[in-house]
């Protein structure tokens, strides 16, 4: 995410956020590639498929944790903390609303269901839009 020309605790919190988000993104990419190769080539069968399938998901859970950690570490700059919270709130509200509407269209209007992982990817991508909206409102 977010903010330029920060100083002190904000800058330190943003640096930690950047390091953490890069680390969990690398973990996610690595486990996704490994899991895809192992399962599609039938190198893993039976019960080990379950924990293996969960490994990439833990990367996404880690991303959520990193965002939560940023919010808590911005406690000494309430204004920046508020901007991050609003960004996450707008993004989450938009994605949950859109996916709920889509689910009802699937259920009652025969619209095709969304492929897996779309909602999570869209949620993470929506932070960029949410950040832009918050910047316009609170410039």
């Amino acid at each position: 995410m977010i903010y330029s020309s920060c100083s002190g605790v904000v800058s330190a919190a943003m640096k930690r956020y950047s390091r953490r988000i890069i680390a969990v993104s690398l973990y996610y990419a690595a486990t996704l590639i490994i899991t895809t190769i192992l399962i599609r080539r039938d190198h893993v069968n039976g019960w080990p498929v379950y924990p293996l399938a969960v490994l990439p998901a833990l990367g996404v859970v880690g991303m959520i944790w990193v965002i939560g950690k940023l919010i808590t570490e911005l406690k000494d700059d309430g204004y920046q903390q508020m901007l991050v919270v609003k960004t996450v709130l707008y993004s989450t509200g938009f994605i949950v609303s859109a996916s709920t509407i889509w689910d009802f269209l699937v259920a009652y209007a025969g619209v095709p269901a969304m492929p897996p992982f779309v909602i999570m990817t869209a949620w993470l991508a929506s932070f960029g839009v949410g950040n832009a909206i918050v910047r316009v409102i609170y410039k």
């Binding site: 309430g78 204004y79 609170y138």
Partner: protein
């Protein structure tokens, strides 16, 4: 809530960035407080009061 932060900063010829550095917050936060778009937390209000060596009520005023 109204405040005299811009006046006090100007008296010391500090930029918003300089004040932000002294308070360990972002420049945007200083700007938001000065323009009345954001009321600081109580700990930050005390840091501001300490920095300008004034009681809080001489910096932050009721509407």
């Amino acid at each position: 809530m109204n405040n005299r932060l811009r006046v006090l900063r100007a008296e010391r010829q500090w930029s918003q960035q300089e004040l932000a550095d002294r308070l360990e917050v972002s420049r945007q936060s200083v700007n938001a407080i000065e323009t009345g778009r954001y009321d600081p937390s109580l700990p930050l209000a005390f840091r501001i009061a300490d920095l300008f060596a004034k009681p809080i009520e001489e910096i932050f005023l009721r509407d």
